[in-house]
């Protein structure tokens, strides 16, 4: 197990370098970092040249990348458009997004898996058809529609919640944004669990469990669900990365100052440092989440042993 983890961690290095290089090139080659610094107006050539020299932008791109990565490893992610350190931005943005992701994942696990088990056990029943239809609707309606609609109804019309989240973003204010963020994945988790449960339900070991005289809830939870969870775990693991970085729409709707919001600002103002910095961290999150999923396999399924 230990050797496997070390090998996986070593494999992460080329992936990490490749991913950061790609995003660095894309932002540097396609965008114009100086243009962003001058705001709306056109930069005058003299200032542009001075700024280019100041930021080392006149050097070749590979040298810029090396300098940047060198700085990253000493914990210096550069400065954002407003003069703030990118690390400072991260320190405020990531806790908010992590809270939001936690809530979303919790919704996915609790609601998604429960609905999946219920529908999987009663395939073809009205409950099953209803839930399937609902998941189809949720999957096909874009997040910004569900988000804006719920914000309008719950926040503005009925006043049950605050329509926008305060800058501290405590857990209770993030419940609705979390649900909106989770909605699509939740629908997928429901469908995945349903299929997996329905497939394993007729399997021999479930019949054995019944033949042993175990009560129904024990058969379902201990034997059926445990065996059906592997595809769901894979999905949720991969989803952590998406939820952390892909919350741009949800964070915009509810005015949450998290990772998605900062990334959006960075892209809007063509700020290389912010975008590359955040994406670098997100790449790491993806890699670690994938490693954890692979290790979870071994915990869930004793037949998988890593050497």
């Amino acid at each position: 197990m230990g050797r496997y983890v070390v090998r996986r961690l070593l494999q992460m290095i080329p992936v990490f370098i490749g991913a950061t290089l790609l995003i660095f090139l894309m932002v540097n080659v396609m965008g114009d970092p100086i243009a962003g610094l001058c705001g709306e107006r056109q930069c005058d050539p003299a200032t542009a040249a001075r700024l280019e020299q100041e930021f080392g932008l006149d050097e070749p791109v590979w040298q810029q990348y090396l300098t940047y990565m060198g700085n990253v490893f000493t914990g210096d992610f550069g400065t954002a458009f407003n003069g703030q350190e990118v690390t400072e931005l991260m320190a405020t943005a990531f806790p908010v997004t992590i809270r939001l992701t936690l809530i979303a994942i919790l919704f996915e696990i609790v609601i998604g898996v429960t609905l999946g088990v219920v529908t999987g056990l009663r395939r073809g029943s009205p409950v099953d058809t209803g839930v399937l239809l609902l998941t189809l609707v949720v999957i096909s309606v874009p997040t910004f529609v569900t988000g804006l609609l719920l914000q309008l109804l719950l926040g503005v019309k009925w006043g049950w919640i605050r329509p926008s989240v305060s800058s501290e973003a405590p857990f209770d204010e993030l419940i609705l944004p979390g649900l909106v963020l989770a909605s699509v994945s939740l629908a997928y988790v429901t469908r995945l669990t349903r299929t997996s449960i329905a497939e394993n339900r007729r399997s021999d070991y479930v019949r054995t469990a019944v033949a042993k005289g175990l009560p129904r809830h024990r058969v379902v939870v201990r034997h059926l669900l445990r065996n059906s969870l592997i595809p769901v775990v894979t999905f949720i693991g991969a989803d952590i990365g998406f939820l952390m970085g892909g919350a741009i729409v949800t964070e915009r709707i509810f005015n949450i100052h998290g990772v998605g919001y900062q990334l959006y600002q960075g892209i809007l103002r063509q700020n290389t440092q912010t975008v590359v910095g955040f994406v670098t961290v997100l790449v790491l999150v993806f890699l670690v989440a994938n490693l954890i999923v692979d290790l979870l396999y071994a915990v869930l399924d004793p037949r998988i042993r890593y050497a």
Partner: protein, 353 residues
């Protein structure tokens, strides 16, 4: 229909030792293509300490019958009629809670394929201990000790360490032993063994059969032994039931049925079996045709389309009238006793040499 079934069940002689008696059992599945009559009017008895063998082709209703005894059929698509009396209690109408208490406790089952029938994610010891804890209320520690005891009994070497192994770490024979240990953990009065040795090679098969016989002698367990291997059944069973197309076609003691078979289907089964001492050049005699569809079984005797002796029966009785199976030693066939005797001696016996 139900009242008729009931009176028949009451009339049927249930001996004092008869532990399980099945009376006029009918099992139907509703499928997309129509209604499958998986079991059609089956009756049999199992005594304590005795073994009933059930043989028949694939799809003859052997397994379905026994899944129904434990109530393991899918309740949504299956209708069960008739009676399954366990010590006088009817299991067909029994509530799920009551069945739960019986399963794994009084009645246990050994399944055909031990690799898929054991849960891959729990240790063998835990799976053996599970029903013991449920039915006796034993603690985890006691149940573990019991699991080790059972593994010793079924001949697993180093049971103290193997008890924590997962099924995939066991060989095929060991898995089947673990399966048997799991079935016997609560000392059941009735053991249903559904082709327990089909997946095993002959040496392991012999060990498993010996084991079952030893355990039967020790605990006085009644066994229903389902197989399509007549060699195994001659070794294991006291009584024999031959099934075809969801019905019993011949019944008797193993010796009687195998030595003096009285049904053309049993003749076919016996002649299609290779013999060790037989001449190599002698061809086997398979039964022509294939098992009938249970969606619309043939009229009259279900075996008549494949039977070589329908010509001996006057008129078209074979295709119109369903032969009944009498009590005790019996065969469901329209041939007269004399005809059977002469056909068996003239045609069948030479093939069996």
């Amino acid at each position: 229909m139900t009242t008729l079934t009931k009176t028949e069940g009451e009339k049927a002689p249930t001996g004092p030792d008869s532990f399980l008696s099945v009376r006029d059992l009918r099992v139907r599945f509703s499928t997309e293509d129509g209604i499958v009559k998986a079991v059609d009017g089956l009756s049999f008895d199992v005594e304590r300490g005795k073994t009933l063998g059930i043989v028949g082709e694939s799809g003859s209703g052997k397994s379905v019958t026994n899944l129904t005894v434990l109530g393991l059929h899918n309740p949504k698509s299956t209708t069960v009629e008739g009676e399954i009396l366990l010590e006088g209690r009817d299991l067909v109408t029994a509530p799920e809670k009551e069945l739960e208490k019986l399963r794994g406790n009084k009645v246990a089952m050994i399944f055909q394929d031990p690799l898929t029938a054991l849960s891959p994610y729990y240790t063998v010891g835990r799976q053996i201990a599970e029903p013991y804890m449920k039915h006796t209320g034993a603690s985890k520690k006691e149940a573990r000790a019991r699991a080790i005891e059972m593994l010793t009994k079924v001949g697993i070497p180093q049971p103290e360490s193997r008890v924590d192994d997962y099924p995939h770490q066991f060989s095929g024979g060991m898995r089947q032993r673990a399966m048997i240990a799991m079935a016997l953990v609560c000392d059941p009065d009735l053991l249903i063994a559904d082709e327990p040795t089909t997946a095993l090679d002959v040496t392991v098969q012999a060990q498993i059969l010996d084991l079952l016989k030893d355990l039967q002698q020790e605990f006085g367990t009644g066994i229903i032994f389902i197989t399509h291997d007549l060699g195994v059944i001659s070794d294991m069973a006291d009584d024999l039931l031959v099934m075809y197309s969801g019905r019993a076609v011949e019944r008797g003691s193993v010796r009687e049925v195998l030595r003096q078979p009285k049904h053309p289907y049993t003749w076919g089964l016996l002649s299609s079996m290779p013999r060790l001492g037989a001449d190599v050049s002698q061809a086997l005699n398979p039964i022509p045709g294939s098992p009938p569809s249970l969606l619309n079984p043939p009229s009259g005797c279900p075996f008549h389309p494949r039977c070589a002796f329908t010509g001996e029966v006057p008129g078209d009785r074979c295709s119109t009238e369903r032969p009944s199976l009498g009590e005790g030693r019996a065969a469901a066939c329209h041939l007269t006793a004399e005809q059977k005797q002469s056909i068996f001696i003239d045609t069948i016996q030479p093939r069996l040499r």
